[in-house]
């Protein structure tokens, strides 16, 4: 269970990595989000942003305190389907916190160069390169230009 300040224990980290693999599973040659090694980055972001830190703490608290999970020997001992089930229960009971956890996991994962390479996104800052700005092509207006003015007159 995390400390009040949000520091994760080794066991939290093990749980969280597996949670992250369940949230974003492996694809092509990429491992799941947990195995990819994103947790350090997530902890760093959480340490800077209270919203994520508090949510992460509550989420991991809920995961370790879930009686049915405990009865099975802890989250790591569950099958993949059971793990999904346990996560889904928290998603329902702590929807706001779960949404924040999901957000920070998604942001971290989709900020990684190797993920960008797979999905075809040019990685790094958007500026100063940007993209090409072609000129406006007026021919697209051919149809709408045939329309008579139809704005509504109003008394002065």
């Amino acid at each position: 269970m995390p400390t009040k300040q949000g520091a994760l224990t080794d066991s939290d980290r093990r749980n969280m990595r597996v949670v992250m693999d369940r949230l974003i599973p492996p694809v092509d040659d990429l491992p799941g989000a947990g195995t990819m090694g994103l947790l350090d980055e997530i902890e760093r972001i959480a340490s800077e942003h209270d919203r994520y830190r508090k949510s992460l703490v509550r989420f991991l608290d809920a995961l370790t305190m879930d009686m049915s999970v405990e009865a099975e020997g802890g989250f790591l001992a569950l099958s993949g389907e059971q793990q999904d089930e346990a996560i889904r229960e928290i998603e329902e009971s702590l929807s706001k916190e779960f949404a924040n956890v999901l957000e920070v996991v998604y942001i971290s994962y989709y900020s990684r160069p190797e993920v960008h390479a797979r999905i075809g996104w040019r990685t790094g800052p958007l500026q100063p390169l940007g993209f090409t700005l072609p000129p406006f092509d007026e021919s697209i207006l051919d149809t709408v230009r045939k329309r008579e003015p139809f704005w509504r007159q109003a008394p002065d």
Partner: protein, 535 residues
Amino acid sequence: MATGPVDILIIGTGASGAAAAWRLSEAGFKIVCLEQGAWQRPEQYPAAHANWELQGATTFAFDPNIRGLPEDYPVNNTESDIAPLMFNAVGGSTIHWTAHTPRFHPSDFRVRSLDGVADDWPISYFDLEKYFDLNDDWMGCSGIAGDPANPPRSPRPMPPLPLGPDGERIARGFDKLGWHWWPSDSYINSQPYRGRNACNNCGPNGLGCYQKAKGSTDVTYLPEAIKNGVEVRTNARVFKITVDQDGRANGASYYDEEGIEHHQSARGVIVAANGIGTPRLMLLSKSKRHPDGIANSSGLVGKNLMFHPYAMVTGFFDDPQPSTYQGALGNIIISQQFYETNARRDFVRGYSYQMNRSSGPAKTATGLAISPVKWGEGHHEEFAERFGKSSLLAVISEDLPEERNRVELDRAIKDSNGIPAPKVFYRVSNNTRRLLDHGIRNAERVLLAAGAHRTEANPMLRAGGWHLMGTARMGDDPERSVVDGNCQAHDVDNLFVIDGSVFVTSGAVNPTPTIQAIALRAADYICRERTDLKG
């Protein structure tokens, strides 16, 4: 510390405050602007960093409650269907804005006469027309004249931004249905303009523009105003507009960055702190002469809050177009096919459509206007369906004024200076709900006609309070309005309100060109008729 009198004190340097500062300074008024935020450095905007999407969700988030920066003030939105959004810095919310810049229609100023609802404005479209043009010129408008849904307008200073293949696809969808659309007017440079660069199509212009291609007032009006002698005092948070024995405004008290209290005296005061910040400040400014807040004898300060409730419909396309994230987010197409009241419909007034692009990978995953991509099995397939392949139509609904929708001072929540925060009470009306549903159904038709294989609607965007209007409305009757048609307070003849607070109705378009035209017109009135305010 007390500071010697200036002619005009302007509170807020956003869209309206900066425009008025420039105009008044041209006429030689001595002006100080008090701004609670700081200057931004465009080369440091999120797009200059690899983690720009994280910044967009945190330190640069649209919602001040999420950002929580010292210069922000919290907004209690627990009693509101819509969360107000704003930015607090030199340039105000134009740092964040998308710069989609349609104008109000002539009919928007006459809704009581035409449709029997709400109230007419004391001014007309044609009173504002020359100020719209002036503003287009200074802010830098790209667009093309000839839109059949609007009165003729002068040639735009720059050609339109390209629609891109994704925009052209949607345009053809409208054409197929025989419905109106037009390239959006945008305060974004399609070519270099007034010393600022052209847009380079990077995309997320809601996060500040590195190229200064987007017209935010810190790079348009304010540099010129400063050349004219205007002083912009930053990190200066006003907590009270002060009055003399007769109840006339004589300046404002504010805290500096260190929390030290100061007073700036002035012959006239302009409030330009936006549709939430302005009523907050007016309600805070109680005195013997103004026991319910300054200029509030009508009791209408804070009342009649309007937002423009938004519905968003996303279309998913599978033909291999270049990606739908390339190009300015929302500066492509507007449709005003359903702008006006039609007696056959079950609602009064109407709406516009604004096309929006998709976003970068993280925002795609966390959900741009729809739920996040599902987690677990099927995650990657759903992400692939969305990423670079979705376009959106926003339904911008006209919001009619209702007194129950309001801004009050919160009893418990305070900002970093201990000043009471605003609390917002807002419920979407039945008329708006029906209007949005109509808009959603028709947006789906457009997207399908454009080739989408599937659509998904968000019936109302909670995080969509971009447009803040109505909370110090203008009118001829002092019992039913706070300021007159020149933005001068009925109760205090040297106090002016020039932001979206003065709107009588909301129209169904993004409001800022209309806000700025009103601000410029009010400034012209002061230059012409209020020379008594010049020292």
